[in-house]
């Protein structure tokens, strides 16, 4: 990389250092595939750069990157529709490859919590995921979504309440 980095490039790189792990966690949480998740981290940032390099101004770069990441997750789900992990687990064969690169990280409890989170409205889903999956602090979350830290804390508490309700309604069927 050249020595003279423009401010936008510097900001972009430091954003990568900051968000690479949280995003990686989010991808793994959602798609349970380590290697693919690494690709998605890279794709998130290259897509973001693609947009910036057109000279377009982005008001909140962090929020934008999260948006891209979420879209990539949705795309992954669509691709996966044809081969559902549930089918593989229930139906016939054991498709879990256990070598280093293709390790599919399975965890029943995590699946359950994930399903409950999915049933939350997007506002709540976002903060819960950022807090407990990505590992961001309420302060960091506040900066991403553009609210006050107080609002974030309140929203997290409400989310937990809602999750209890959802668990009660849907019981242990998930």
């Amino acid at each position: 990389m050249s020595n003279k980095q423009s401010p936008i490039e510097q900001e972009f790189i430091s954003l990568y250092e900051e968000l690479a792990d949280p995003l990686y966690r989010r991808f793994v949480f959602k798609i349970s595939h380590a290697e693919r998740s690494k690709d998605l981290v890279q794709e998130t940032f290259t897509k973001c750069w693609e947009y910036i390099s057109q000279g377009k101004e982005v008001k909140n770069l962090k929020a934008f990157i999260y948006k891209i990441a979420n879209n990539l997750i949705i795309d992954e789900y669509r691709k996966k529709k044809s081969i559902s992990l549930d089918f593989l687990r229930e139906g016939g064969f054991d498709a879990v490859a256990k070598d280093e690169d293709n390790r599919i990280v399975e965890n029943a409890e995590r699946e359950n919590v994930s399903k409950i989170i999915d049933r939350l409205p997007s506002k709540y889903r976002d903060v819960v995921t950022m807090r407990y999956v990505d590992g961001l602090t309420p302060g960091e979350i506040a900066r991403v979504i553009g609210e006050t830290e107080n609002t974030v804390s309140v929203r997290i508490n409400r989310s937990i309440k809602k999750m209890r309700d959802i668990l009660r309604i849907y019981g242990k069927q998930t």
Binding site: W49, Y51, R78, V105, R110, V113, I160, R164
Partner: protein, 393 residues
């Protein structure tokens, strides 16, 4: 629940990228950045415009020396006589062109005859407002936007935008929340697109400053109107049904597919423009997915709104791409005016769009619909498909 979440948090903390992986990914991002540097300049190249006058004046020299109104009347007669050829050519006219009066007073006039009811009125006025903006942008790019023209266009824009607003208000009063919502979404997004374009052109073209200020103001206004109407439509009993939500779900899905195919077919545009549109399309898909969740949980009103948003977002992706094509912002960032794209659209006959929703697709198709209607009324104005004229403006 909180315990489960804390547990989850603890587990997730153990999942992180190794230093090695992190560096490898960063290298990948760096090399991508090097291949795609930040684009700052839009160089403007003037496009030499072949004049319409040579072709027409040779046949009818006396016509274009007449005064405005008589030109109008005679132009109308020519339109009827030649079956729409002149009217078609006029559609690309800009203020200062000979055929511009034909465009505003004949073509647009005919469209207003066919626009019945407040909804069509709202959509038509929104289209006309947008048309004035495009004219200003094209003139600016050609270096022909003087004070007089810019003031005139600004005044007309305000006229149409106000008219669109009052039509929307009428729809609200008539409790037609669905119609009002769809019209307001379209209007808001077109203003936002043009605000973006004008912003991009502003540095090189100071003459657009006043127009941009107005557009921004109207865009803000339109956003407020849309939000208000959106709140009403979500709880409207007529909208909050399974059938309506699923109807919009299908429309949205079709639109997303259509735009996806459209983007793929674009050979002449730069990769960055296409990726920009793809990103917008990704947004549309994400919103669509949210809509499906709402549909599943029975929140039909909200699902309807989300599907409509997804549809509009996809449409925006296509429209911004089309506008870039019309203004021809190519890979090197050079800009010129391109009138050829219209031929392609018209030759294709605009058949991909169904008649009912033509307002969403550029003016060529809307004009197509109007001409079909006119055909029924007086049988004298023929439709596009039967008459083809090769003129370079």
């Amino acid at each position: 629940m909180e315990n489960k979440l804390e547990q989850l948090n603890e587990e997730m903390k153990n999942i992180a990228l190794s230093r090695e992986d992190k560096d490898k990914i960063r290298e990948g991002i760096f090399s991508y950045m090097e291949r795609h540097p930040v684009r700052n300049e839009i160089q403007v190249r003037r496009h030499s415009r072949k004049s319409m006058m040579g072709w027409l004046s040779s046949g009818y020299p006396s016509l274009f020396n007449l005064t405005h109104t008589r030109t109008m009347a005679l132009a109308l007669i020519i339109v009827l006589f030649l079956g729409g050829g002149v009217s078609f050519a006029a559609d690309r006219a800009l203020p200062g062109d000979i055929l511009y009066p034909v465009k505003t007073e004949v073509n647009e006039e005919v469209r207003s005859w066919v626009a019945f009811g407040a909804k069509s009125g709202a959509e038509l006025e929104a289209d006309l407002a947008e048309e004035r903006l495009e004219e200003a942008e094209k003139l600016a790019l050609k270096g022909e936007l003087d004070d007089e023209k810019s003031t005139a266009l600004l005044a007309k824009f305000i006229l149409h935008a106000n008219s669109a607003k009052s039509n929307l208000k009428k729809l609200e009063e008539e409790n037609k929340s669905k119609a009002a919502y769809e019209a307001s979404v379209r209007h808001e997004s077109s203003l936002e697109i043009h605000s973006e374009i004008l912003g991009g052109l502003l540095r090189e073209h100071e003459s657009l400053k006043n127009l941009k200020t107005e557009v921004d103001a109207y865009a803000n206004d339109a956003a407020l109107v849309r939000a208000k109407v959106q709140a009403a439509v979500v709880i409207d009993k007529k909208v909050n049904t399974d059938r309506v939500a699923r109807g919009m779900e299908t429309a949205s899905e079709n639109k997303i597919g259509e735009v996806e195919r459209y983007i793929e077919k674009q050979a002449s545009l730069s990769e960055t423009a296409k990726v920009g549109a793809s990103l917008r399309l990704d947004d549309a898909k994400a919103i669509y997915a949210e809509g499906e969740l709402k549909l599943e949980s029975g929140a039909y009103g909200e699902a309807y709104v989300l599907f409509q948003q997804a549809k509009e977002e996809a449409e925006e992706a296509k429209r911004s791409l089309k506008t870039k094509k019309n203004l021809n912002i190519d890979a090197a960032g050079k800009v010129e005016i391109n009138s050829e794209t219209r031929d392609e659209e018209v030759k294709a006959g605009g058949l991909s769009e169904s008649g009912a929703t033509t307002s969403a697709v550029g003016r060529g198709d809307l004009r197509l619909e109007v001409e079909k209607n006119s055909e029924r009324e007086n049988g004298k104005i023929r439709s596009e498909g039967e008459l083809k004229i090769d003129i370079d403006l």
